[in-house]
Amino acid sequence: MTTVEERTIRLDSARAGTGPATWGQRAIWGVVTRLGDDAPRYNLRLDLPLTPPRPASRVLADLTELLRMHDSLRTRLLPHGEDGLEQVVDGTGELPARVRTCAAAEAPAVGEALMEELAGRPFDHAREWPFRVGLVECEGLVHRLVLAASHTAMDLWGEGRMLRDLELIEAGESAESLLAARPALQPLQAAAVQSSPLGRRRDEAARQHWCERLTAGPRRIFLDPAAPELAATDPGRLFPNALLRSPALAVAVERVAAELGVSDAAVLLGAASHQLARMSGSSDVLFQVVVSNRFQPAASESVSTMAQEAVFLLRDADKDFEDAVRRTRSVSFTAFRHAGYDKWALDREVARLVERGEAADHSCWWNDTRDPGIGPFDTVERPRSALGELTGRTELSWPTEFLPRANVSVAVDVLTAPGALELCMTADPAVLTRDGMERFLRGVEGLIVAEAVAREDA
Protein backbone atom coordinates (compact mmCIF):
# COMPACT_ATOMS: atom_id res chain seq x y z
CA MET A 1 0.00 0.00 0.00
CA THR A 2 1.25 3.50 -0.83
CA THR A 3 0.77 6.32 1.67
CA VAL A 4 0.95 10.02 0.94
CA GLU A 5 2.56 12.75 3.02
CA GLU A 6 4.06 16.20 2.52
CA ARG A 7 7.17 17.62 4.17
CA THR A 8 8.73 21.05 3.78
CA ILE A 9 12.16 22.36 2.84
CA ARG A 10 12.68 25.66 4.64
CA LEU A 11 15.24 28.16 3.40
CA ASP A 12 16.29 31.44 4.94
CA SER A 13 19.07 34.01 4.57
CA ALA A 14 20.09 32.89 1.09
CA ARG A 15 21.11 35.38 -1.63
CA ALA A 16 18.15 37.45 -2.79
CA GLY A 17 17.54 40.16 -5.36
CA THR A 18 15.52 41.48 -8.24
CA GLY A 19 16.55 42.39 -11.77
CA PRO A 20 15.73 41.98 -15.42
CA ALA A 21 15.41 38.41 -16.66
CA THR A 22 18.35 37.02 -18.63
CA TRP A 23 18.15 36.41 -22.39
CA GLY A 24 17.89 32.68 -21.69
CA GLN A 25 15.10 33.09 -19.13
CA ARG A 26 13.15 35.37 -21.49
CA ALA A 27 13.54 32.94 -24.40
CA ILE A 28 12.28 29.88 -22.51
CA TRP A 29 9.62 31.74 -20.50
CA GLY A 30 8.20 33.02 -23.81
CA VAL A 31 8.01 29.49 -25.20
CA VAL A 32 6.45 27.77 -22.17
CA THR A 33 3.98 30.60 -21.59
CA ARG A 34 2.74 30.34 -25.17
CA LEU A 35 2.38 26.54 -24.81
CA GLY A 36 -0.04 26.90 -21.87
CA ASP A 37 -1.33 23.47 -20.81
CA ASP A 38 1.19 21.81 -23.17
CA ALA A 39 4.11 23.47 -21.31
CA PRO A 40 4.92 20.38 -19.16
CA ARG A 41 6.57 18.72 -22.15
CA TYR A 42 9.40 21.22 -21.63
CA ASN A 43 9.76 20.32 -17.93
CA LEU A 44 12.96 18.54 -16.92
CA ARG A 45 12.51 15.19 -15.17
CA LEU A 46 14.96 13.41 -12.87
CA ASP A 47 14.03 10.14 -11.15
CA LEU A 48 17.12 9.23 -9.13
CA PRO A 49 17.57 5.91 -7.31
CA LEU A 50 19.51 6.50 -4.06
CA THR A 51 22.17 3.88 -3.46
CA PRO A 52 22.37 3.23 -0.58
CA PRO A 53 18.98 4.57 0.56
CA ARG A 54 19.20 7.58 2.91
CA PRO A 55 17.11 9.13 5.72
CA ALA A 56 14.62 11.74 4.50
CA SER A 57 16.01 14.37 6.88
CA ARG A 58 19.43 14.01 5.22
CA VAL A 59 18.02 14.18 1.69
CA LEU A 60 16.01 17.32 2.52
CA ALA A 61 19.07 18.94 4.12
CA ASP A 62 21.11 18.23 0.96
CA LEU A 63 18.39 19.78 -1.21
CA THR A 64 18.31 22.85 1.04
CA GLU A 65 22.03 23.26 0.40
CA LEU A 66 21.46 22.85 -3.35
CA LEU A 67 18.78 25.58 -3.26
CA ARG A 68 21.18 27.81 -1.37
CA MET A 69 23.88 27.24 -3.99
CA HIS A 70 21.92 27.95 -7.18
CA ASP A 71 19.68 31.04 -7.34
CA SER A 72 17.81 29.78 -10.40
CA LEU A 73 16.09 27.07 -8.31
CA ARG A 74 14.32 29.75 -6.23
CA THR A 75 13.71 32.38 -8.88
CA ARG A 76 10.26 33.61 -9.90
CA LEU A 77 9.62 35.38 -13.21
CA LEU A 78 7.14 38.24 -13.41
CA PRO A 79 5.96 40.01 -16.58
CA HIS A 80 6.69 43.72 -16.43
CA GLY A 81 4.91 45.95 -18.95
CA GLU A 82 4.73 45.13 -22.66
CA ASP A 83 8.24 43.85 -23.22
CA GLY A 84 9.66 43.32 -19.74
CA LEU A 85 10.27 40.24 -17.63
CA GLU A 86 11.65 40.51 -14.12
CA GLN A 87 13.49 37.84 -12.15
CA VAL A 88 12.91 37.74 -8.39
CA VAL A 89 15.39 35.63 -6.43
CA ASP A 90 13.89 34.64 -3.08
CA GLY A 91 16.33 34.32 -0.18
CA THR A 92 13.68 32.92 2.13
CA GLY A 93 10.84 30.52 1.47
CA GLU A 94 9.42 27.04 1.67
CA LEU A 95 9.36 24.24 -0.89
CA PRO A 96 6.98 21.31 -0.35
CA ALA A 97 8.35 17.79 -0.78
CA ARG A 98 5.81 15.10 -1.62
CA VAL A 99 6.56 11.82 0.13
CA ARG A 100 5.22 8.44 -0.98
CA THR A 101 5.75 5.45 1.30
CA CYS A 102 5.65 1.97 -0.21
CA ALA A 103 7.34 -1.44 -0.28
CA ALA A 104 10.85 -1.40 -1.81
CA ALA A 105 9.75 -3.55 -4.76
CA GLU A 106 7.18 -0.93 -5.71
CA ALA A 107 9.58 2.03 -5.52
CA PRO A 108 10.32 2.30 -9.28
CA ALA A 109 6.62 2.33 -10.22
CA VAL A 110 5.73 4.73 -7.40
CA GLY A 111 8.63 6.98 -8.43
CA GLU A 112 7.37 7.00 -12.01
CA ALA A 113 3.87 8.00 -10.91
CA LEU A 114 5.26 10.67 -8.59
CA MET A 115 7.31 12.07 -11.46
CA GLU A 116 4.18 12.42 -13.57
CA GLU A 117 2.46 14.22 -10.67
CA LEU A 118 5.33 16.68 -10.29
CA ALA A 119 6.35 17.26 -13.90
CA GLY A 120 3.04 16.70 -15.64
CA ARG A 121 1.57 20.11 -14.82
CA PRO A 122 2.76 23.60 -15.76
CA PHE A 123 4.72 25.81 -13.36
CA ASP A 124 3.20 29.11 -12.24
CA HIS A 125 6.43 31.06 -12.72
CA ALA A 126 5.15 34.22 -11.03
CA ARG A 127 4.15 32.49 -7.82
CA GLU A 128 6.20 29.31 -7.35
CA TRP A 129 9.83 28.28 -7.54
CA PRO A 130 10.66 26.37 -10.74
CA PHE A 131 11.64 23.24 -8.84
CA ARG A 132 9.56 20.40 -7.37
CA VAL A 133 10.69 17.60 -5.07
CA GLY A 134 9.34 14.14 -4.37
CA LEU A 135 10.65 11.30 -2.18
CA VAL A 136 9.84 7.59 -2.33
CA GLU A 137 10.39 6.17 1.14
CA CYS A 138 10.58 2.47 1.97
CA GLU A 139 11.07 1.11 5.49
CA GLY A 140 12.09 4.51 6.84
CA LEU A 141 14.65 5.37 4.14
CA VAL A 142 14.40 7.29 0.85
CA HIS A 143 14.93 4.93 -2.11
CA ARG A 144 14.17 7.37 -4.91
CA LEU A 145 14.55 11.12 -5.24
CA VAL A 146 12.20 12.58 -7.84
CA LEU A 147 12.92 16.08 -9.14
CA ALA A 148 11.03 18.17 -11.68
CA ALA A 149 12.23 21.55 -12.90
CA SER A 150 10.96 24.16 -15.28
CA HIS A 151 13.19 24.76 -18.30
CA THR A 152 13.33 28.40 -17.14
CA ALA A 153 15.53 27.23 -14.25
CA MET A 154 18.08 25.32 -16.29
CA ASP A 155 18.98 23.93 -19.69
CA LEU A 156 20.43 20.44 -20.19
CA TRP A 157 23.98 21.62 -19.45
CA GLY A 158 22.70 23.23 -16.23
CA GLU A 159 20.92 20.02 -15.29
CA GLY A 160 24.22 18.13 -15.56
CA ARG A 161 25.93 20.63 -13.27
CA MET A 162 23.08 20.47 -10.76
CA LEU A 163 23.31 16.67 -10.57
CA ARG A 164 27.06 16.83 -10.08
CA ASP A 165 26.69 19.45 -7.33
CA LEU A 166 23.99 17.40 -5.58
CA GLU A 167 26.33 14.38 -5.56
CA LEU A 168 29.13 16.51 -4.09
CA ILE A 169 26.78 17.87 -1.41
CA GLU A 170 25.69 14.30 -0.58
CA ALA A 171 29.39 13.50 -0.21
CA GLY A 172 29.77 16.24 2.42
CA GLU A 173 30.51 19.46 0.54
CA SER A 174 28.61 22.68 1.30
CA ALA A 175 27.27 25.32 -1.07
CA GLU A 176 29.86 27.70 0.30
CA SER A 177 32.83 25.37 -0.25
CA LEU A 178 31.71 24.42 -3.75
CA LEU A 179 31.17 28.03 -4.83
CA ALA A 180 34.52 29.04 -3.35
CA ALA A 181 36.29 26.32 -5.37
CA ARG A 182 34.32 26.84 -8.57
CA PRO A 183 32.31 30.08 -8.80
CA ALA A 184 29.08 29.61 -10.73
CA LEU A 185 27.50 32.47 -12.66
CA GLN A 186 24.10 33.33 -11.17
CA PRO A 187 21.28 34.68 -13.39
CA LEU A 188 21.24 38.12 -11.73
CA GLN A 189 24.96 38.48 -12.52
CA ALA A 190 24.39 37.37 -16.12
CA ALA A 191 21.52 39.84 -16.49
CA ALA A 192 23.72 42.69 -15.23
CA VAL A 193 26.29 41.97 -17.99
CA GLN A 194 23.58 41.61 -20.63
CA SER A 195 22.03 44.98 -19.77
CA SER A 196 25.43 46.77 -19.74
CA PRO A 197 26.66 48.71 -22.82
CA LEU A 198 28.79 45.69 -23.79
CA GLY A 199 25.83 43.33 -23.46
CA ARG A 200 23.55 45.57 -25.49
CA ARG A 201 26.19 45.77 -28.23
CA ARG A 202 26.54 41.97 -28.27
CA ASP A 203 22.74 41.65 -28.51
CA GLU A 204 22.50 44.09 -31.42
CA ALA A 205 25.41 42.47 -33.27
CA ALA A 206 23.91 39.00 -32.76
CA ARG A 207 20.49 40.00 -34.08
CA GLN A 208 22.05 41.80 -37.04
CA HIS A 209 24.12 38.70 -37.86
CA TRP A 210 21.01 36.50 -37.60
CA CYS A 211 18.98 38.69 -39.95
CA GLU A 212 21.81 39.04 -42.46
CA ARG A 213 22.32 35.28 -42.64
CA LEU A 214 18.59 34.61 -42.84
CA THR A 215 18.28 37.06 -45.70
CA ALA A 216 21.24 35.49 -47.51
CA GLY A 217 20.26 31.83 -47.02
CA PRO A 218 18.23 29.50 -49.28
CA ARG A 219 14.46 30.11 -49.30
CA ARG A 220 13.92 26.34 -49.49
CA ILE A 221 16.34 23.59 -48.51
CA PHE A 222 14.38 20.47 -49.55
CA LEU A 223 13.70 21.22 -53.20
CA ASP A 224 11.84 17.93 -53.74
CA PRO A 225 10.07 17.17 -50.44
CA ALA A 226 8.72 13.66 -49.86
CA ALA A 227 5.00 14.41 -49.48
CA PRO A 228 4.31 18.16 -49.41
CA GLU A 229 0.54 17.61 -49.55
CA LEU A 230 0.68 16.22 -45.98
CA ALA A 231 1.19 19.73 -44.62
CA ALA A 232 -2.38 20.53 -45.63
CA THR A 233 -4.10 17.13 -45.57
CA ASP A 234 -2.61 15.75 -42.34
CA PRO A 235 -1.72 18.57 -39.92
CA GLY A 236 -1.61 16.09 -37.02
CA ARG A 237 0.91 13.75 -38.68
CA LEU A 238 3.48 12.22 -36.33
CA PHE A 239 7.19 12.94 -36.81
CA PRO A 240 9.31 9.73 -36.73
CA ASN A 241 12.38 9.65 -34.50
CA ALA A 242 15.43 7.59 -35.52
CA LEU A 243 18.47 6.74 -33.42
CA LEU A 244 21.79 5.73 -35.00
CA ARG A 245 24.24 4.27 -32.47
CA SER A 246 27.72 3.98 -33.98
CA PRO A 247 30.97 2.81 -32.34
CA ALA A 248 32.74 3.48 -35.68
CA LEU A 249 31.66 7.12 -35.68
CA ALA A 250 33.06 7.63 -32.16
CA VAL A 251 36.50 6.43 -33.33
CA ALA A 252 36.49 8.00 -36.80
CA VAL A 253 35.37 11.48 -35.77
CA GLU A 254 38.35 11.87 -33.42
CA ARG A 255 40.75 10.79 -36.15
CA VAL A 256 39.34 13.12 -38.81
CA ALA A 257 39.29 16.05 -36.37
CA ALA A 258 42.97 15.52 -35.51
CA GLU A 259 43.96 15.17 -39.18
CA LEU A 260 42.12 18.31 -40.28
CA GLY A 261 43.05 20.36 -37.21
CA VAL A 262 39.44 21.14 -36.27
CA SER A 263 37.16 20.12 -33.41
CA ASP A 264 35.14 16.89 -33.62
CA ALA A 265 32.03 19.08 -33.35
CA ALA A 266 33.05 20.81 -36.60
CA VAL A 267 33.56 17.43 -38.30
CA LEU A 268 30.05 16.29 -37.35
CA LEU A 269 28.31 19.54 -38.30
CA GLY A 270 30.33 19.80 -41.53
CA ALA A 271 29.42 16.21 -42.46
CA ALA A 272 25.75 16.83 -41.68
CA SER A 273 25.79 19.99 -43.82
CA HIS A 274 27.45 18.17 -46.73
CA GLN A 275 24.99 15.27 -46.51
CA LEU A 276 21.98 17.60 -46.20
CA ALA A 277 23.11 19.59 -49.24
CA ARG A 278 23.60 16.42 -51.31
CA MET A 279 20.19 15.02 -50.36
CA SER A 280 18.07 18.17 -50.40
CA GLY A 281 19.13 19.68 -53.70
CA SER A 282 20.13 22.97 -52.05
CA SER A 283 23.84 23.66 -52.32
CA ASP A 284 23.63 26.17 -49.46
CA VAL A 285 22.33 24.85 -46.15
CA LEU A 286 21.22 26.58 -42.98
CA PHE A 287 20.94 25.05 -39.53
CA GLN A 288 19.73 26.55 -36.29
CA VAL A 289 22.48 25.29 -33.99
CA VAL A 290 21.88 25.09 -30.24
CA VAL A 291 24.84 26.70 -28.42
CA SER A 292 25.48 26.22 -24.69
CA ASN A 293 26.87 29.79 -24.30
CA ARG A 294 29.07 28.48 -21.49
CA PHE A 295 32.49 29.60 -22.65
CA GLN A 296 33.78 31.14 -19.42
CA PRO A 297 34.53 28.88 -16.42
CA ALA A 298 31.87 30.53 -14.21
CA ALA A 299 29.29 30.15 -16.99
CA SER A 300 30.19 26.49 -17.46
CA GLU A 301 29.43 25.94 -13.74
CA SER A 302 26.09 27.72 -13.90
CA VAL A 303 22.81 25.98 -13.15
CA SER A 304 20.60 28.20 -15.26
CA THR A 305 19.23 28.45 -18.76
CA MET A 306 21.84 29.95 -21.09
CA ALA A 307 21.64 27.89 -24.29
CA GLN A 308 20.32 29.70 -27.35
CA GLU A 309 20.34 29.14 -31.09
CA ALA A 310 23.02 30.30 -33.52
CA VAL A 311 22.33 30.63 -37.24
CA PHE A 312 24.77 28.55 -39.30
CA LEU A 313 24.80 29.15 -43.06
CA LEU A 314 27.25 27.10 -45.12
CA ARG A 315 27.45 27.89 -48.82
CA ASP A 316 28.39 25.30 -51.46
CA ALA A 317 28.14 22.61 -48.83
CA ASP A 318 27.58 19.89 -51.44
CA LYS A 319 30.88 20.35 -53.28
CA ASP A 320 33.52 18.63 -51.17
CA PHE A 321 33.42 16.98 -47.74
CA GLU A 322 36.82 18.16 -46.51
CA ASP A 323 36.20 21.69 -47.70
CA ALA A 324 32.80 21.72 -45.97
CA VAL A 325 34.37 20.62 -42.68
CA ARG A 326 37.21 23.15 -42.86
CA ARG A 327 34.81 26.02 -43.56
CA THR A 328 32.46 24.81 -40.82
CA ARG A 329 35.16 25.69 -38.30
CA SER A 330 35.25 29.33 -39.34
CA VAL A 331 31.51 29.75 -40.02
CA SER A 332 30.49 28.14 -36.72
CA PHE A 333 33.01 30.30 -34.84
CA THR A 334 31.30 33.46 -36.12
CA ALA A 335 27.86 31.91 -35.59
CA PHE A 336 28.67 30.94 -31.99
CA ARG A 337 29.80 34.49 -31.23
CA HIS A 338 26.25 35.56 -32.11
CA ALA A 339 24.33 33.02 -30.02
CA GLY A 340 23.45 35.34 -27.12
CA TYR A 341 20.63 37.83 -27.73
CA ASP A 342 17.18 39.02 -26.75
CA LYS A 343 15.03 36.33 -28.35
CA TRP A 344 11.83 38.37 -28.19
CA ALA A 345 13.41 41.17 -30.22
CA LEU A 346 14.91 38.70 -32.70
CA ASP A 347 11.57 36.90 -33.13
CA ARG A 348 9.93 40.20 -34.09
CA GLU A 349 12.66 40.91 -36.67
CA VAL A 350 12.48 37.38 -38.12
CA ALA A 351 8.67 37.60 -38.34
CA ARG A 352 9.03 40.76 -40.43
CA LEU A 353 11.50 39.00 -42.77
CA VAL A 354 9.18 36.00 -43.11
CA GLU A 355 6.21 38.27 -43.84
CA ARG A 356 8.14 39.97 -46.62
CA GLY A 357 9.29 36.61 -48.03
CA GLU A 358 12.90 37.52 -47.30
CA ALA A 359 13.76 34.79 -44.75
CA ALA A 360 15.67 31.63 -45.54
CA ASP A 361 14.29 28.21 -44.63
CA HIS A 362 15.33 27.93 -40.98
CA SER A 363 13.57 24.66 -40.16
CA CYS A 364 16.69 22.45 -39.86
CA TRP A 365 18.09 22.10 -36.31
CA TRP A 366 21.37 20.77 -34.94
CA ASN A 367 22.01 20.17 -31.24
CA ASP A 368 25.37 18.72 -30.20
CA THR A 369 24.47 17.91 -26.60
CA ARG A 370 27.80 16.32 -25.69
CA ASP A 371 29.61 17.44 -22.55
CA PRO A 372 33.28 18.08 -23.47
CA GLY A 373 34.25 16.46 -20.15
CA ILE A 374 32.61 13.12 -20.96
CA GLY A 375 33.94 10.91 -23.78
CA PRO A 376 32.58 7.67 -25.27
CA PHE A 377 35.58 5.68 -24.06
CA ASP A 378 35.71 6.98 -20.47
CA THR A 379 34.03 3.89 -19.07
CA VAL A 380 34.49 1.26 -21.81
CA GLU A 381 37.61 0.08 -23.60
CA ARG A 382 38.39 1.66 -26.95
CA PRO A 383 37.72 -0.94 -29.68
CA ARG A 384 40.75 -2.40 -31.44
CA SER A 385 38.89 -3.53 -34.55
CA ALA A 386 39.43 -1.83 -37.89
CA LEU A 387 36.89 0.85 -38.77
CA GLY A 388 35.49 -1.29 -41.59
CA GLU A 389 34.60 -3.99 -39.06
CA LEU A 390 33.25 -1.50 -36.53
CA THR A 391 30.65 -0.22 -38.97
CA GLY A 392 29.03 -3.66 -38.75
CA ARG A 393 28.17 -2.84 -35.15
CA THR A 394 26.13 0.25 -36.02
CA GLU A 395 22.53 0.02 -34.84
CA LEU A 396 19.56 1.96 -36.16
CA SER A 397 16.32 2.03 -34.16
CA TRP A 398 13.05 3.99 -34.18
CA PRO A 399 12.36 4.72 -30.51
CA THR A 400 9.31 6.97 -30.78
CA GLU A 401 7.22 9.42 -32.78
CA PHE A 402 6.52 13.02 -31.85
CA LEU A 403 3.57 15.34 -32.34
CA PRO A 404 4.15 17.91 -35.12
CA ARG A 405 6.66 20.60 -34.25
CA ALA A 406 6.40 24.14 -35.57
CA ASN A 407 9.11 25.20 -38.01
CA VAL A 408 10.92 21.84 -37.84
CA SER A 409 11.65 19.85 -40.96
CA VAL A 410 14.72 18.06 -39.62
CA ALA A 411 16.18 18.08 -36.09
CA VAL A 412 19.34 16.16 -35.17
CA ASP A 413 20.84 15.70 -31.70
CA VAL A 414 24.38 14.38 -31.11
CA LEU A 415 24.80 12.35 -27.91
CA THR A 416 27.61 10.50 -26.19
CA ALA A 417 26.96 6.86 -25.29
CA PRO A 418 29.35 4.34 -23.69
CA GLY A 419 31.58 3.20 -26.57
CA ALA A 420 29.65 5.02 -29.29
CA LEU A 421 28.28 8.26 -30.64
CA GLU A 422 24.56 8.58 -31.23
CA LEU A 423 22.74 10.67 -33.82
CA CYS A 424 19.10 11.13 -32.91
CA MET A 425 16.95 12.51 -35.72
CA THR A 426 13.34 13.70 -35.92
CA ALA A 427 11.89 14.69 -39.29
CA ASP A 428 8.64 15.88 -40.81
CA PRO A 429 7.29 13.09 -43.05
CA ALA A 430 6.07 15.80 -45.42
CA VAL A 431 9.74 16.55 -46.10
CA LEU A 432 11.61 13.28 -45.56
CA THR A 433 10.53 9.62 -45.50
CA ARG A 434 11.91 7.09 -43.04
CA ASP A 435 14.16 5.81 -45.83
CA GLY A 436 15.40 9.37 -46.33
CA MET A 437 16.11 9.72 -42.61
CA GLU A 438 18.11 6.49 -42.62
CA ARG A 439 20.00 7.62 -45.72
CA PHE A 440 20.89 10.89 -43.99
CA LEU A 441 22.13 9.26 -40.78
CA ARG A 442 24.09 6.50 -42.50
CA GLY A 443 25.41 9.10 -44.94
CA VAL A 444 26.87 11.26 -42.15
CA GLU A 445 28.45 8.20 -40.55
CA GLY A 446 29.74 6.95 -43.91
CA LEU A 447 31.37 10.25 -44.85
CA ILE A 448 33.33 10.49 -41.61
CA VAL A 449 34.33 6.83 -41.48
CA ALA A 450 35.45 6.87 -45.15
CA GLU A 451 37.56 9.98 -44.53
CA ALA A 452 39.17 8.37 -41.47
CA VAL A 453 39.93 5.17 -43.40
CA ALA A 454 41.38 7.10 -46.33
CA ARG A 455 43.68 9.07 -44.04
CA GLU A 456 44.72 5.92 -42.19
CA ASP A 457 45.67 4.30 -45.51
CA ALA A 458 47.46 7.41 -46.86
Partner: protein
Amino acid sequence: MDSSALRSKILDLAIAAGDGSVTADELAATGYSLRDVGYTSLSYMRLIDSIENEVGVYLDPEAAIEHYETIDSVTALVVAGGAVADA
Protein backbone atom coordinates in the same frame (compact mmCIF):
# COMPACT_ATOMS: atom_id res chain seq x y z
CA MET B 1 47.86 51.00 -22.38
CA ASP B 2 50.76 51.04 -24.90
CA SER B 3 50.99 48.31 -27.54
CA SER B 4 53.68 46.35 -25.71
CA ALA B 5 51.67 46.29 -22.47
CA LEU B 6 48.54 45.42 -24.46
CA ARG B 7 50.29 42.50 -26.16
CA SER B 8 51.53 41.26 -22.80
CA LYS B 9 48.02 41.51 -21.33
CA ILE B 10 46.56 39.57 -24.28
CA LEU B 11 49.24 36.90 -23.89
CA ASP B 12 48.22 36.46 -20.23
CA LEU B 13 44.54 36.27 -21.16
CA ALA B 14 45.30 33.74 -23.91
CA ILE B 15 47.14 31.48 -21.48
CA ALA B 16 44.31 31.76 -18.95
CA ALA B 17 41.69 31.05 -21.63
CA GLY B 18 43.61 27.90 -22.58
CA ASP B 19 42.56 26.49 -19.21
CA GLY B 20 45.90 24.85 -18.47
CA SER B 21 46.50 23.47 -21.97
CA VAL B 22 48.90 26.23 -23.12
CA THR B 23 52.02 27.67 -21.49
CA ALA B 24 54.01 30.82 -22.22
CA ASP B 25 57.00 28.68 -23.26
CA GLU B 26 54.94 26.65 -25.73
CA LEU B 27 53.56 29.82 -27.27
CA ALA B 28 57.02 31.37 -27.54
CA ALA B 29 58.32 28.22 -29.25
CA THR B 30 55.68 28.52 -31.99
CA GLY B 31 56.19 32.24 -32.61
CA TYR B 32 53.09 32.95 -30.49
CA SER B 33 50.80 31.00 -32.82
CA LEU B 34 47.62 29.91 -31.03
CA ARG B 35 46.77 27.58 -33.86
CA ASP B 36 50.10 25.76 -33.68
CA VAL B 37 49.69 25.02 -29.98
CA GLY B 38 46.30 23.44 -30.65
CA TYR B 39 44.16 26.21 -29.22
CA THR B 40 40.55 24.91 -29.15
CA SER B 41 37.41 26.67 -30.35
CA LEU B 42 36.28 26.90 -26.72
CA SER B 43 39.55 28.61 -25.78
CA TYR B 44 39.09 31.12 -28.62
CA MET B 45 35.60 31.96 -27.39
CA ARG B 46 36.90 32.36 -23.83
CA LEU B 47 39.73 34.61 -25.01
CA ILE B 48 37.35 36.93 -26.88
CA ASP B 49 35.04 37.15 -23.86
CA SER B 50 38.01 37.89 -21.60
CA ILE B 51 39.33 40.64 -23.87
CA GLU B 52 35.91 42.27 -24.09
CA ASN B 53 35.34 42.02 -20.33
CA GLU B 54 38.82 42.95 -19.11
CA VAL B 55 40.26 45.22 -21.81
CA GLY B 56 36.88 46.81 -22.55
CA VAL B 57 37.27 46.51 -26.32
CA TYR B 58 34.46 45.05 -28.38
CA LEU B 59 36.11 42.92 -31.07
CA ASP B 60 34.81 42.84 -34.62
CA PRO B 61 32.19 40.08 -34.31
CA GLU B 62 32.44 39.29 -38.02
CA ALA B 63 36.19 38.61 -37.91
CA ALA B 64 36.68 34.94 -38.80
CA ILE B 65 38.67 32.58 -36.60
CA GLU B 66 41.70 32.97 -38.91
CA HIS B 67 42.15 36.50 -37.53
CA TYR B 68 42.69 35.09 -34.06
CA GLU B 69 45.51 32.71 -34.88
CA THR B 70 48.47 34.54 -33.32
CA ILE B 71 48.95 36.80 -30.34
CA ASP B 72 50.02 39.54 -32.76
CA SER B 73 46.94 39.23 -34.97
CA VAL B 74 44.68 39.31 -31.90
CA THR B 75 46.53 42.39 -30.64
CA ALA B 76 45.99 44.03 -34.04
CA LEU B 77 42.26 43.29 -33.82
CA VAL B 78 42.11 44.83 -30.35
CA VAL B 79 43.93 47.95 -31.55
CA ALA B 80 41.54 48.22 -34.50
CA GLY B 81 38.55 47.75 -32.19
CA GLY B 82 39.84 50.28 -29.69
CA ALA B 83 37.99 53.08 -31.44
CA VAL B 84 34.70 51.59 -30.30
CA ALA B 85 35.80 50.66 -26.81
CA ASP B 86 33.35 51.25 -24.00
CA ALA B 87 34.03 54.26 -21.86
